[in-house]
Symmetry: C3
Subunit: 147 residues, 3 copies
C-alpha cells in the first residue's frame, strides 16, 4: 500500500473532520444562544434541531469513513473520493436544513443516504472480488470482461 493509493481518501476524511468540528461549534453557539447549559440536551425546538443534526451526523460519521476507505482500497480511490465528497456536501445541506425545520432535513438526508449506500456497495463489491481472487483463485473482473 503506497500513500498515493489512499491520499485522496485521506483528503476527503480531513474535510469530513473539519465538517464535524464545524457542526460541534454550531452546537456550542446554539447552547449559548438558547441558554441550554450541559448536561441538558433539551430546550427550545430551534436548539434541539441543531443538537440532533450534529448528533445524527456524528453517529453516521464513522460509518461514512469506514465505507469510504473500504470502497477506495478495494474498488476505486477516485470513485470513492467522489461519492465521499458528495456525501459530505449532502451532510452540510442536512445540517442546515434540519436547523431550519425538521422537514428541511429530509431531502438532503435521502441524498446523503444514497451516497452512503453507493460507498457500501462499492466496498462490498470490491471485497467480494478480492475474496474470490484470494480464496478461489478466480479473477471476477477479468472473467466478466471476457463473457
Amino acid at each position: 500500500m503506497m500513500l498515493d493509493q489512499v491520499v485522496l481518501l485521506a483528503a476527503v476524511t480531513v474535510l469530513g473532520l473539519l465538517e464535524q468540528a464545524y457542526f460541534s461549534l454550531k452546537v456550542i453557539y446554539a447552547r449559548r444562544k438558547h441558554s441550554v447549559s450541559p448536561p441538558a440536551t433539551t430546550g427550545p425546538p430551534e436548539f434541539e434541531r441543531v443538537f440532533r443534526a450534529q448528533a445524527n451526523c456524528s453517529e453516521y460519521f464513522p460509518l461514512f469513513v469506514f465505507s469510504l476507505w473500504l470502497a477506495g482500497i478495494f474498488f476505486s480511490q477516485a470513485l470513492a473520493a467522489l461519492f465521499g465528497l458528495l456525501y459530505l456536501y449532502g451532510r452540510y445541506l442536512y445540517f442546515h436544513g434540519y436547523a431550519e425545520s425538521a422537514q428541511g432535513r429530509l431531502e438532503p438526508l435521502y441524498f446523503s443516504a444514497k451516497m452512503l449506500w453507493v460507498l457500501i456497495a462499492l466496498a462490498g463489491a470490491g471485497v467480494i472480488c478480492t475474496m474470490t481472487q484470494v480464496y478461489l483463485g478466480l479473477d471476477l473482473l477479468h472473467f466478466f470482461s471476457h463473457v
Copy 2:
C-alpha cells in the same frame, strides 16, 4: 500490507455496516409507528428501547471496528474475523432483545462485551509483541516457544 492480509477484516466490517444500516432503518420505522417525529427522542417505552438500542450499538461500533482491525493486523486475521462475527451476532441479539424489553438486552450485552474484550486483548497483545520487537529487538513469540 497486502489486501489478502486484511480482506476478512474488510468483509466483517462491511457486514457490520449493513447491520448498523439495518438498525437505523428500524429506528425510522419505530419513529413512524409510534409517531415520534424528530427532533424528539422520547416517547412510549417501546420506541425508546429501539432508539437506545441503535444509539448504544452506534456508540460501540467504532470501538468494535478499531479493535477488529488492530487485532487482525497485529495478532491474527482469522481469529479477529471470527470474534468479529460473534460480536456482530451478539449485537443483533442485543438489538432485538432490547426492543422486546430492557431485561432482554442484558444477556446478549454480556456476550458482545466479552467478544469486544477478546478483540481488545488480542490487539493489545499483538501491539506489545510488535513494540518489543521493533524497539527492543526481542521476538517474544519466538522466545516463549523456546522456554
Copy 3:
C-alpha cells in the same frame, strides 16, 4: 507500509479503547447508584453529567482516532502519538471534571480540543504535502528547506 511505521499509533489507539471502556463502566455504575434503568437517560444531575461525559467522549473518539492515524501516517508517527497521548489525558480530566460539575469540564475540554486541532492540522499538512508530490511532482518539504 510496515508495522513499525504505525505501531505507536496502534498503541495509543488501544489505550483510547481502554479509556472508552472505562468511561462506559462508569456510566453503568452511575446507572446502578442513581437507579436510572435503561432506556432512561435522564435522572439526577450527578447521573446526567456522567452520562453526557461518556456520550461526549464517545462522539469525539472516532474523530480522534482518524486524526491520529492520518497525522501519524502522513506527517510524523512520533508527534501524532505524543499529541494523541495528551488528548487521551485531557479526556480523562474532562470525564472526571464533568462528573464533578458542569463547570469542571471546561478547562480539560479546551485542552483536549487543542490537541485534536493539532492532530487535524498535522493530518491536513501531511495530506497536502503528499498530494502536491503525487499530483504536481513538487516536494514541498524539500522546497521550503532550500528557500
